[in-house]
Amino acid sequence: MAAGPGQVFAAVLRRDLQVAWRRWSDAANPALFFLLVVTLFPLALSPKAEFLRAIGPGVLWVGALLATLMALNLLFRADVDDGTMEQLLLSDCPLPIVMLAKTLAHWITTILPVIVVAPVLAITYHLPPEALPTLVLGLLIGTPALSLVGSIGAALTVGLRQGGALLAVLVVPLMLPVPMFGARATDLAVAGEDPTGLLYLLGALSVLAAGLAPLASAAAIRLGID
């Protein structure tokens, strides 16, 4: 008797959220990192409102990508290190579902705080308030694709020692379309144009990634266990 895919998904999601809740400082790090990266630009380049408005959408999206990258390292590593991943591999439940649930839990605990901080930072970049819904909506729709694509890289590098830098080299080229569409959607909203089409495209990327990335990361995670 094995648990159905829905039960497995719920059980893994619940467990990972519970673990993250008890280690909340790990979860807060990406948001802090995001805050610091975004703060660097006005200080290092120019604090002029006009300039900041022009680079704001791009900086916020690149910041979200970097925060995702930073958080990814821990996505599977803890489970591999304490042996719970072995137990997951042994159990009779579909591994892609497990990977999807783990990635979702990871997104909720690390990227959702980033999205909460983003509109506040957007105001400091003098983005018009009308553009904020597009920014937040775009991040909500688009960042799952970043986490999902990143999960493949995290699974491929989990058994390797120098995982961090290699992970970035592997997944950033694959992630590129997301910040490109996302920043452009926000740009359009800043300029008063209609961004809906791009938001649909971000959604398409996330859904596509949700369908394919768990298969790849499920196949890859076995390589890290030996």
Binding site: M1, A2, R22, R23, T84, E86, Q87, L90, S91
Partner: protein, 202 residues
């Protein structure tokens, strides 16, 4: 019943075992012995499906198909890594395993009681001692419903009461028609429960 035929595995240039074949009938245990580095753990990990042998096949009764798939849900593995989440309590750890196996979690307090972990059921697993963690990992074996248990040095860190718990656990499993492969560098210990023997290396 587990049947292994012609298993070979190299680690780099070193051959750990070559054309290894054995049968573990239902209701029996087989002990794998050998010095450190002889490939006991590796053999167990092959049986668990974590490693693919260079050559050879593994079969469960008369099931056909890849061991990867056939073994899932049939095999329980208790190795060096406990597979215990330090942030969760002992009960929560077992609840998760029960949910994955699709088993009713009502039996968990009883299992913890048997393992002598009832007093620390609500404690985070990170705060348990090494021996207590090992007991928790053993308690999970019962929960998985697996027929083949793979135990890698199961007596490590266990005190007398713990060893006794392990013996009774294993004996009950074998009585119920299950089978087990036990890796151990000490020939005594569980030897009387094991009918088969595989010697590696040396």
């Amino acid at each position: 019943m587990l049947t292994a035929e012609g298993l070979s595995l190299w680690r780099g240039d070193q051959c750990l075992f070559r054309r290894l074949g054995f049968v573990v009938p239902a209701g029996s245990a087989t002990q794998v012995t050998g010095p450190n580095g002889s490939g006991k753990t590796t053999l167990l990990r092959v049986l668990a499906g974590f490693l693919r042998p260079e050559t050879g096949t593994l079969r469960w009764a008369d099931e056909t198909g890849d061991w990867d798939e056939v073994s899932r849900g049939r095999v329980a593995y208790c190795g060096h890594l406990g597979g215990i989440k330090a942030e969760l309590t002992a009960t929560e750890n077992l609840r998760f395993d029960a949910a994955l196996a699709g088993v009713d979690p009502a039996g968990i307090p009883g299992l913890l009681e048997e393992a002598g972990l009832a007093p620390c059921a609500g404690l985070r697993a990170g705060q348990l001692s090494a021996g207590q963690k090992r007991r928790l990992a053993l308690a999970r074996l019962r929960l998985s419903g697996a027929s083949l248990w793979l135990l890698d040095e199961p007596q490590t860190n266990l005190d007398d009461a713990g060893r006794h718990y392990l013996r009774s656990l294993l004996a009950g499993h074998l009585r119920a028609g299950g089978c087990a492969v036990i890796a151990s560098h000490e020939p005594a210990g569980l030897a009387d429960l094991a009918t088969g023997r595989i010697g590696l290396g040396g």
